[in-house]
Symmetry: C2
């Protein structure tokens, strides 16, 4: 089996390639070849036993998608996107990369389907940004997509395209609405949502972290390990069971910042909690107010998608996967 | 005030131009000029006191949209689309006309906005086809868009674009989800939904009509006069009150075929009803099963959009507007 990962240089893409390297099997078949693609050079995973091809290209450039489809990959993970903040600042780039890039990919597959019946599994990473405030809690699976960012709009449009191309039989697609990935490894970044990870990741290694919002802010989380698990499960399950509504809000953990901090206290003690410095930021608080507090995710759970059940667990996953199991 | 109607040769477009000709005023301002555009030559309305410009062009052709925006119309009604059946049969044409055409228009307006601050009111006709079975009855305003046709997908995508371009301030848009327009004037056509109109329109003039489904089929209707009323109201209301969720399910009348027939009996008597010939058609029955039975339309009603309250009224509107008031 041949696997294509578009957006392979990103955090989830790298972890997905590592997982496939470890598993070596996807949907009951041996992964013989992986093609890793991104706009910046992706790294080859350590010790993959099959063939790895690395490509640097921009999906929004004419012809790029056709190049990727030429070898007829069996499973395509499409993770490539510019992030929310950038899509908001650069309207044209957001639509070009996040919408047109995806549409080029879908069209290349459709034309290959018409040519020779090619019909891959396509796993697309969507986002909880497809919904927009005011939001109920929990948000039901049937809630409408009324995004309040260009990024969320682009993801919602790609979801609609994915359903339609799947319904027509051009590919067998599934859209995975990822919760906010927490604890995000790496350094603190300037993303407005960065603090959800910062306030746990930094204190776990003895570093200070800034908390810009109040303790009662509620949000929707899953670990990087769960995020990769969703994608693998999406590539594996029988899509007949999913039916025509191909875009699924993933399970996750709804928690307040206060609950995150209590979990940190239980796992790493008071000295870790003391490293959190409260520095209220009006702008971040305003942005946060529009974010999803949590989803029912009834359909996804029934289809076997699973996530963490407590923030203690999310922290332990981070310690295992990023800190070698040691605190 | 300058008004542009794209899709002016269609049934609703023609009636809209006639209404503006009669009213001569829109949103409190005199309509000085109307530009009527379609892929087939539109007709000039009778006796419009202002300037009329007729144009035949295809919005999906590069440059077409820029031509239309050059004169900076104050209000744009975008009604142009290929219909559901054609979009389903010709995938490429459907996306080219219904999605790319609309996007060209939106982009032309955005570029004009960036050039000189132009920011028109834009009224877009969406459709109840943005929802797909299984459907609750009534369908709430917050119900998700999971279309089961390419046409519905294209309309749902344009709704998302309309909200995002409006949010960014490029234009002031509103999306009007039209119910099935009934009684549609003209001759019986081959649209699967044609019978809803045929079984009333034809018997009213002494002609036989075929009913291919059972009496308990429930659907969502509004008269052509109401459809035009929605567009006029959409061009007029304060969009601050609408907020960021710019696409509204219009009010309408939820009725079964049996209730339609009873209304016909009350208005035109038993001899009209006897002209309905029952000829069950499995395919049409199957297609119908996926259609919307009715919407709550709570938001649209609160915003002052109104439709008929009975099928007797819908039939009387047809008699007034199409049969000169005489039965």
């Amino acid at each position: 089996m041949q696997v294509l990962i578009i957006g392979a240089a990103g955090m989830v893409g790298r972890k997905l390639a590592e997982r496939l390297t470890r598993d070596r099997v996807l949907a009951g078949q041996t992964v013989d070849a992986m093609t890793l693609v991104d706009v910046v050079a992706p790294e080859a995973p350590n010790a993959f036993a099959g063939k790895v091809s690395l490509q640097t290209l921009d999906l929004s450039e004419p012809g790029s998608a056709d190049t990727l489809i030429a070898s007829r990959p069996d499973v395509i993970f499409h993770l490539a996107a510019i992030v929310s903040g950038e899509a908001e600042l650069d309207f044209e780039k957001g639509y070009r990369i996040n919408l047109d890039g995806t549409r080029h990919l879908f069209e290349a597959i459709r034309l290959a389907h018409l040519a020779d019946g090619y019909r891959p599994r396509l796993v697309f990473t969507s986002s909880i940004a497809v919904v927009g405030a005011p939001l109920p809690y929990p948000i039901p699976d049937e809630f409408h997509t009324t995004p309040l960012t260009s990024y969320g709009t682009q993801k919602a449009i790609c979801e609609l395209l994915l359903s339609d191309y799947s319904r027509k039989g051009y590919f067998d697609g599934i859209g995975i609405r990822l919760p906010t990935v927490c604890i995000r490894p790496g350094k603190p970044n300037k993303a407005a949502s960065g603090f959800f990870s910062n306030i746990l990741r930094e204190p776990l290694v003895g570093q200070e972290a800034v908390l810009p919002v109040s303790d009662d802010v509620r949000h929707w989380h899953a670990s990087p390990r769960s995020a990769v698990g969703f994608l693998i499960h999406g590539a594996t399950i029988d899509l007949e069971k999913v039916g025509p509504r191909r875009n699924l809000s993933m399970p996750g953990l709804s928690a307040t910042v206060g609950e995150q901090i209590e979990a940190l206290r239980r796992v790493a003690g008071e000295k870790a909690v003391k490293l959190i410095r409260r520095e209220p930021d009006e702008m971040i608080m305003r942005i946060c107010a529009g974010w999803a507090p949590g989803f029912e995710a009834t359909r996804a759970r029934a289809l076997g998608f699973t996530a963490e059940n407590s923030f203690d667990e999310i922290i332990r996953v981070h310690i295992e996967d990023e800190l070698g199991g040691n605190l």
